[in-house]
């Protein structure tokens, strides 16, 4: 945890402040995000965990301003190195998307263009992001631009552990396995040495053995290049194993954020406690507990704390007022007003 403590002194690379967004639907306005606050520090891996529909992916996408139809209803600020991404026009965003902040998705095969070979897609990006590197290789060894691009591509694919690069560059998305496709996507995402990588359930569709490869690779590459990762996942196991800090999200708000070890040892929010009780752990037989009730309907969310209808220790205050963030330690923040009562849970 040394790293994050040091990181505290440095400026965060991404600062999300009170991000709110809602969408129109047949049942009225769906208030998907209700004030998301977090900071991402350079070089750290931050997990964003939560259940289906809690707004994990929307947070990442709106933070990058990637959802055009959400723009009129976007409130709050996302500062990326002094620039507010929510206020930037498209032309300015294009120079950030993919280049300084990249993203990898759950289904790697589906996020590769099926009608171009892997090589064609990769060469295009190399020409776009690494023109100097191409030139320097050309000058050094006196080869053509095309060969230089191919050489860079081969090198980058080897970095992520892909062999048989020649064959791979000539294949199409459907010809490679899921694990290979995700490695390829990681190679593409890291081409421009971005400051931030957003991994949206990047390993959820893979087998455990392949997942282990990808997780190790992501961690290694990011430590190597100093890239910060926002790791969106529903798997607390992954969060526990590779992330520096964990942010727990519930119904459009981050309810608790702390360093990984801290959140597992000393969870403060009743929802975090509920989640931890529901996760089976290998090598430990325990009675699984579940959280009573259902995820709220976000078109008509509960007043006050959105978790209160499912919370055993909810008081009157929880029903009326949205809880403010409270510091429970140097790097432990929780949005719960009833800490004393919930401590006894």
């Amino acid at each position: 945890m040394q790293m994050t403590k040091e990181a505290k002194k440095i400026e965060p690379i991404l600062r999300v402040q009170d991000l709110k967004v809602s969408f129109n639907s047949a049942r009225g306005r769906v208030k998907v995000l209700e004030g998301v606050d977090f900071e991402l520090y350079p070089g750290e891996i931050l997990a964003l965990v939560g259940e289906t529909g809690c707004g994990k992916s929307v947070t990442a996408k709106t933070a990058l301003n990637l959802i055009p139809q959400a723009r009129p209803y976007l409130r709050g600020h996302v500062y990326f190195q002094g620039q507010d991404l929510t206020a930037l026009p498209n032309q300015a965003l294009v120079s950030i998307w993919g280049k300084r902040i990249s993203m990898i998705f759950q289904n790697p095969q589906a996020s590769i263009n099926p009608v171009f070979t892997l090589g064609e897609q990769m060469f295009r990006l190399i020409k776009m992001f690494l023109p100097e590197e191409i030139k320097s290789i050309q000058q050094q060894s006196g080869i053509g631009a095309k060969t230089a691009v191919r050489q860079i591509a081969t090198e980058k694919l080897k970095e992520v552990g892909l062999m048989e690069t020649e064959r791979l560059l000539n294949s199409y998305a459907f010809e490679i396995s899921g694990g290979m496709a995700q490695r390829y996507k990681i190679a593409l995402a890291l081409l421009s040495s971005p400051e931030i990588l957003i991994a949206d359930e990047a390993t959820s569709s893979l087998d455990v053995t392949v997942q282990a490869h990808i997780l190790k690779l992501l961690k290694k590459m990011c430590r190597l290049k100093g890239t910060a990762i926002l790791f969106i996942t529903h798997d607390l196991g992954i969060a526990a194993q590779i992330c520096d800090r964990i942010a727990v999200m519930y119904a459009g708000r981050i309810v608790e954020i702390a360093e990984t070890a801290e959140i597992f040892v000393n969870p403060l929010h009743p929802y975090t406690k509920g989640l931890l009780g529901a996760v089976p752990q290998l090598g430990m037989q325990k009675q699984l507990t579940s959280i009573p009730g259902l995820i709220p309907d976000l078109s008509n969310p509960p007043e006050g704390c959105r978790f209160h209808p499912r919370c055993e220790s909810a008081g009157d205050l929880c029903r009326r007022e949205k809880p403010a963030y409270r510091y429970a330690g140097a790097s432990h923040t929780v949005a719960c007003d009833g800490p004393k009562r919930s401590d006894s849970l």
């Binding site: 259940e51 289906t52 396995s177 694990g179 087998d207 455990v208 053995t209 997942q211 282990a212 490869h213 997780l215 190790k216 529903h234 798997d235 607390l236 196991g237 992954i238 969060a239 526990a240 194993q241 590779i242 990984t260 070890a261 597992f264 040892v265 509920g274 989640l275 931890l276 009780g277 529901a278 996760v279 089976p280 752990q281 290998l282 090598g283 430990m284 037989q285 325990k286 009675q287 699984l288 507990t289 579940s290 959280i291 259902l294 995820i295």
Partner: protein
């Protein structure tokens, strides 16, 4: 222990390539020579990577996938080669619950119709009692009787899975196959369904085959777990000790690759070299040998024999004894 289901050399092959005249020249060997007992009242877990044939094995036992050869003995009677008609009396006794509850409930039927439809294949239940029985079934899975007149889309994923379980229980089965039944659910809902399943098994004396790719869930809910690799079961043992002291290198590889939800037990995630073999052309000898770090020449040549340790628990590996003695896999 009495075996409810006994599988002997079960093979399920699907045609892969045909010549111009329609002669099949190669097969996908989804289930290749599985011999297995499922004891009455147990919850047997089946784990493996995607494409290893675990779902096909589950479906083969229920005779939903074609059996190429071998025998399936269910409750003392051979059902492996029964024709469709003769199989009907056995159908109510074995049921299945699928991964995606939304896709397995007819969106145009109310819950009461869904449950009643299952009751139609039970001749022993009087039609006039169908409604009452449907109410009881919902009660069994902790749902309110007024839900009978709603449609599946009005429920959350967890509730839909409860309805699927209720439907599977409608015919009063002895044996249930859960095919990744909790994989599509969120952790807190998954915990509810797992607890419900355990409660029902105790109360009704059911036997489960629980197919999953998640080791920690299997360890939590199962009595025994079978590990499947490329169409074959490589190891089977009681759930409590299997992942603590794996007897097969593949079991260890699966365990070491799993991220555990406990930062205090952070470990270097183990990685397995190579890729899952193609089921059309599985490697000769032990199918795992190209990826196994303990493989020797014999592994590439001969298929390993089964090494029993106690009833209902065995491992299929040439080097099992020496690995076990040296405790290299633990």
């Amino acid at each position: 222990m009495e075996a409810l289901i006994h599988l002997k050399e079960v093979k399920t092959y699907f045609p892969h390539e045909k010549t111009a005249l329609g002669k099949i020249v190669s097969w996908v060997k989804a289930v290749d020579n599985v011999t297995l007992d499922i004891f009455r009242g147990e919850c047997l877990g089946l784990v493996g990577e995607s494409g290893c044939g675990k779902s096909t094995l589950g479906r083969t036992i229920l005779r939903l996938a074609p059996l190429s050869s071998g025998s399936i003995i269910f409750g003392g009677e051979e059902i492996g080669h029964l024709p469709f008609k003769a199989l009907q009396p056995y159908r109510p006794r074995m049921q299945m619950v699928f991964q995606d509850p939304r896709a397995s409930l007819n969106p145009r039927m109310k819950i009461v119709e869904i449950l009643k439809e299952a009751l139609h294949i039970c001749p022993q239940i009087d039609k006039r009692e169908h409604f009452e029985r449907a109410t009881q079934l919902l009660d069994m899975v902790d749902m309110r009787p007024e839900y009978l007149f709603r449609y599946p889309h009005e429920f959350s994923g967890g509730q839909q899975q409860r309805i699927c379980i209720a439907r599977a229980l409608a015919t009063q089965p002895d044996f249930l196959v859960f095919d990744e039944a909790t994989s599509a659910l969120d952790v807190s809902v998954q915990a509810q369904i797992i607890n419900l399943m355990a409660m029902l098994r105790g109360k009704l004396g059911l036997t489960y085959l629980f197919i999953s790719h998640d080791l920690s869930i299997l360890e939590q809910v199962c009595t025994r777990v079978a590990v499947m690799y490329a169409g074959d079961i490589v190891e089977i043992r009681d759930a409590a000790s299997l992942f603590k002291t794996p007897g097969h290198p593949y079991t260890k590889a699966l365990r070491d690759a799993l991220p555990i939800a406990d930062p205090a037990r952070r470990h270097e995630l183990g990685t397995l070299q190579g890729e899952v073999p193609k089921l059309t052309h599985p490697p000769p000898g032990c199918k795992f040998h190209p990826r196994c770090s303990y493989a020797t020449d014999i592994c590439a040549e001969q298929q390993p024999a089964v090494a029993f340790s106690e009833p209902g628990s065995w491992v299929r590996c040439h080097h099992h004894e020496e690995l076990w003695k040296k405790r290299v896999l633990h």
